[in-house]
Subunit: 430 residues, 2 copies
Amino acid sequence: MNNVKIAILGLGNIGQGVWKILNTNSEEILKRSGYKIEVAKILVRDKNKARAVDVPEGLITTNPDDIFNDDSIRIVVELMGGVHPAKDYMIKAIRNKKHVVTANKLAIATEGEEIFKAADEEGVMLYYEASVAGGIPVIHGINESLTANKIQQVMGIINGTTNYILTKMAHEGMDFDSALYEAQQKGYAEADPTSDVDGYDAVYKLAILANLAFGTRVDVNSIYREGIRNIKQVDIQYAKEFGYTIKLLAIVKEIDGALELRVHPTMIPSRHPLANVNDSFNAIFIKGNAVGDLMLYGRGAGDLPTGSAVVGDIISILRNNIDLSSSNASRNNHWSMDVNNIEYAQSEYYIRITVRDVPGVLGRISTIFGDNNVSLSTVIQKGNSKDFVPLVFITHKTSEGDMRKAIKAIEGLQSVLRIENIIRVENSAI
Amino acid sequence: MNNVKIAILGLGNIGQGVWKILNTNSEEILKRSGYKIEVAKILVRDKNKARAVDVPEGLITTNPDDIFNDDSIRIVVELMGGVHPAKDYMIKAIRNKKHVVTANKLAIATEGEEIFKAADEEGVMLYYEASVAGGIPVIHGINESLTANKIQQVMGIINGTTNYILTKMAHEGMDFDSALYEAQQKGYAEADPTSDVDGYDAVYKLAILANLAFGTRVDVNSIYREGIRNIKQVDIQYAKEFGYTIKLLAIVKEIDGALELRVHPTMIPSRHPLANVNDSFNAIFIKGNAVGDLMLYGRGAGDLPTGSAVVGDIISILRNNIDLSSSNASRNNHWSMDVNNIEYAQSEYYIRITVRDVPGVLGRISTIFGDNNVSLSTVIQKGNSKDFVPLVFITHKTSEGDMRKAIKAIEGLQSVLRIENIIRVENSAI
């Protein structure tokens, strides 16, 4: 039996989960890794904060140098979140020849290049399975299992908060605000839900997935982003009527050698496996040219699921021979690929418009769509208001650019009150 | 760029898939592994057999010693299937210090101990991702990603043929024979479908999964096995009425330190992720004490999906440093666990009985259930036949032993014509 000392930076939700797993499953971990893992130090901001786990006082420190300068500590587990000071701490650990495990999507997505470079230079391992989709081994999956594939497409439900909200809206008829409120009450959404409901969280995770799947660095700012605030109960109902389910999808596809990257609410066929991913569950649907369709489903957040990924990474380091230099380099190639402007992205669309109920309005709108190369597959007119009626269109595949031109012209019509919603439809998902 | 020579034993469906992937994706494989993989020899039984892939004649051999005695060949890929001579060939390759990749569920499930022992002794790597669920990285998942977990339960749809048949029966109202015929026409089922429809194929795969998840050898003969031949359209309809979907599940659970292992048709709640796994797709649903619920979904068979797993294993060997000795040992611990007799297994049950339509029959049957500790949750009596009517029961959780005693007594009743079907119900699956 070998002994290995590790340090944990941060004792929040995930840090406490890691502590619990290391203690509860110590026997399994020893059997699988050959090591007894000893937590030698835990960095916290406030020593006196009440915590749900019972950690010996002597392990707690507020001074990061206690960790960086301790040569007996071989692995540093960064669970602070945020870019600063997490990034500097990771690099400092790396420069002190410590292997690093992190759950930090923001730091990896935005500062990954610098952190990976440092790890390559020092020959240490850097693992970050927990940074995307919590307990789901998607990074391992792409990085270690699907290596024989040319990956063609990754589509994921990688934000549990928005999936919880959309599930409540679809299954219980709630409106967005009530569903958000319930998510907040249950601890699935923050007091300020911006990062989740406006799609930022999914953008960071998609950048990491795209990097892995296509071996190319992705600037988070190059990812098209649209959140779920504008999804109305009526859109959910129309979707159902057409055989679709609305999910916030993070999508990366290779189109003729360039990448298309986008995070937005999407109507997918209700029989698609992703459509049946409910509540706060996450799932990633991958198309590879050999494996075909593959989906990984599970808990995308939470102390224990995320801790499962963190501790799994620690065990990977121990099994990979902790004394060896890293082979990260070959796993993080920087093949350079262009990112397509969203204007060129092809999609089908659902468009809901409120119009004045006057003769000829449908004709005028349809003509504008046609003039802009947008071909319609379905048109529905319903409603009982005397003055205004909803018009709903589903289009065939068209480019975002053509769609925007058409919408702009339609908005200019006197008989159009409002473009209520535009939601992309992914039939090619199946 | 390094060069590595490999040999393939067998050029059937999977062998041809591997050949295609190595050629089509050679650029990706080189980037990810750092190696150019050269197929130096392919062992076949018949040199003159027509094949869909165009393999240079010089690579083909019918003499295995051309491979075992060639020191320049570092990896042997066994894709012959069956125990003999595949097992001996694998061991011969291992004794000649070659790493081995195999897709052979039968050899690993029944002769794995001897093959692993040889690999440990020679310090070579032995990978077998393709032996269970084709392209789905479930072995990698359990072995490398879920290492931080105490796994509590694995439930899988791991036979595509039966899942295709059950899907056709459920979605298109086919009876078993028509669905089997269609599966055979489409190449999903063999002319002799015994191995698939009677559950043998799933038993082998479950033995491998149980070994990985619980670190213990499992004798395939200790696995309870029941196929899908007796599933009638009427059972599918009743299941739907009760909110269930019938799937052939392979299940392993830990119950108080012992394993419960079984392969049988199972009614699972229709909202369970496994219930939505259709056609020939496979999926494995895993419960770990840290990760919670995790499901891996994808293609369980086919030349390219299975080839994806095989080539992924080759790349794993190259990345693990082909010149190092193996760390297989720590990954195939033989913790010894008992296997519970099926009599002790707890389950809910669906029971369909045809009875004579005489007064008191329901009372007599219900009394027998009660006398044997079988408590009923639902009873349905339908039917329009004058003389015979179907009775359908769903029970609460009960032991297999008690159920068998009850059934035996019920069969003895004069008013009972036939016990038509008994199907286990897994509500705890959610």
